[in-house]
Symmetry: C2
Subunit: 359 residues, 2 copies
């Protein structure tokens, strides 16, 4: 099924984040979104583009760090040059998405949706249908978040507490509140109610609604974003004045408290690939060993987990269950799926040791 | 304590063996004995030379494969050129040690001792004293083997069954028999008697006695060895006629049956570094992680075992006990100490796949 384009709808793709829990694949100079983490032959950024193209055509805007602008342009070389915004410095998601909103407001975009550059989605058709429902509610003035159907009681995500169905939009519900990352036991209670969804940071909204919601909380912030959009040469001057704040805190939470947020439940298979454990879950079958890369480079005896032969060298693994082996030209990681989160501690240690060239 | 030289005593160092259980450090083109496996800054071959020099001076002869001759000469550049014998092909230990014996017989050597190029010995002084005792008994015409004091019921070594003390040599005992590698339970019985020692292939003997013992079993074999020694230009012609047989089967076992073998118990700390498990035992403390190489290249969190950062790359290991990680420029091994023996299966698989350049 080929999705219909959604008229006047733009995708905004914030491409940021260091992805330190995916070291040594992901580096500060070459973050997660630039890598093919699923063996598809396409990077996560390219996959994000491919997934959105059926509903937006070329109405897609990437917001990324200045250091990654050229790499983004190379991977998405079909994008018009002014559809890639380079942030002078990282100032969190409100500034990134807010600037895109201000630029799109001037270009006459009717609705926009923000979708991270480094997430994986399994069922594109269901994703497109969900986005279309969200866009329809957004046209009516709502700030719409896509709430991911939880597959387990995760303590790694914030949750969206959903309320009653929105009049005129049978697939859309009002949002009671956003809640922070809970403990596993609280998450289990959330799942038992059937009324909580993962907040994956996918917001669909009219650009003007987004900026006006921001202006209610921080008038200068919204004014500066609109000023940059009107006079792009002022980016350098004004950018450093923008607060570092996540869009959730800046507008989603206060707007929810004011009853202005809705949510569309999404059940299309979603993963943010937080670490090598979740990557192994995504790619592999239980008790199997997944090779991400050239299988001829892996010599495996009696092992399960994930092996990434990423340097051209032969990798032999013998007698290890749930192992994680990631081989790159200058660094090698060996750990277990259960300890995969601690990779970020290695990155921190390398920085402490003055070896940032490896991070 | 500096050992005295043993007059007229020569060391023969067979430098052979692929060491496939130490892959990817040890390769067919660069075997175990050429590597520094103990972090001493000296290869096992160099350490063998250093250990023997106090008792033999420059009376040391290496027998190695033609492919390794240049590497041996580079590492032992103080050796006279004709103290390195290059075998045209590998024909097991009887041919190698027998040829050295034939050459030394012509040079007038009184006694010789064979010592593998890839074993580790902890206490040089006790080793020297043991060799001196063995050489004294060998002068009286005995084939003397050094019997290593067993430290556990190993099924990986053959054993020497020792009998009564030899008259006139209080530290030397008659050998009842050599026994093949036993099961662990049989080895436990051996240890309980206190009369069994590991056979480490260290034979001390007069060259003429050795060749005469061989002639009793295979007159042509001994004659061919003496012919090569007399006319070295016939090496290529005669070498391929020599049987492939271990010195243990060719002479040690029949000589023991004839009551002509004696043994000196050796308790100087000995290891043949059979695999990465024994290397970890040799180098490390229980529940610790040993880095063989530059410690700055290892980033270790909550792990034990052995890490060999051998390619210049950073190696991060998190949350793995008894792990073995060996990093080389073209191949990487990840296994556990308990499974370290299976490394040879990887080498076999690579050969089967036509990738002998890695083996």
């Amino acid at each position: 099924m080929v999705a219909d384009e959604i008229p006047g709808f733009w995708a905004v793709v914030p491409a940021g984040g260091a992805g330190t829990r995916l070291w040594p694949l992901s580096r500060s100079g070459s973050p997660k979104f630039l890598h093919d983490l699923t063996g598809s032959g396409r990077s996560l950024l390219e996959q994000t583009h491919d997934r959105l193209a059926p509903v937006v055509g070329d109405r897609l805007m990437v917001v990324t760090g200045a250091a990654h602008r050229d790499a983004v342009r190379r991977q998405l070389d079909q994008l018009p040059d002014d559809n890639v915004i380079a942030e002078p410095s990282a100032r969190d998601s409100m500034a990134a998405i807010g600037l895109a909103a201000a630029v799109l407001e001037r270009r006459g975009a009717e609705v926009m949706g923000s979708f991270a550059a480094d997430h994986v989605i399994v069922d594109d058709a269901r994703f497109h249908a969900t986005v279309a429902d969200a866009a329809a509610a957004a046209r009516d003035g709502w700030l719409v978040t896509i709430g991911i159907e939880p597959t387990f009681a995760s303590s790694a995500f914030g949750y969206v507490h959903q309320g009653d169905v929105l009049e005129g939009h049978p697939s859309v519900r009002r949002v009671v509140e956003f809640v922070e990352k809970p403990s596993v036991s609280v998450a289990e209670e959330y799942l038992a109610t059937g009324r909580y969804r993962w907040n994956a940071g996918m917001f669909v909204v009219r650009p003007t609604v987004l900026l006006d919601l921001l202006a209610e909380q921080d008038a200068a912030f919204a004014a500066n974003l609109r000023a940059i959009a009107a006079e792009p040469e002022r980016l350098g001057e004004l950018w450093e004045k923008l607060p570092r704040i996540a869009i959730d805190h800046a507008i989603a939470e206060p707007a929810a408290a004011a009853g202005k947020v809705a949510t569309v439940p999404g059940a299309f298979g979603w993963d943010d690939i937080g670490d090598f454990d979740s990557l192994a879950t995504l790619l592999g079958e239980q008790e199997a060993l997944t090779v991400l890369g050239d299988p001829a480079l892996a010599q495996v005896i009696g092992s399960s987990g994930i092996v990434v032969p990423g340097s051209g060298r032969t990798v032999a693994v013998i007698g290890l269950d749930d192992i994680v082996v990631v081989d790159t030209p200058d660094a090698l990681l060996v750990t277990t799926r259960a300890r995969a989160q601690e990779v970020k501690n290695v990155v921190a240690a390398l920085k402490d040791q003055g070896r940032s060239e490896l991070t």
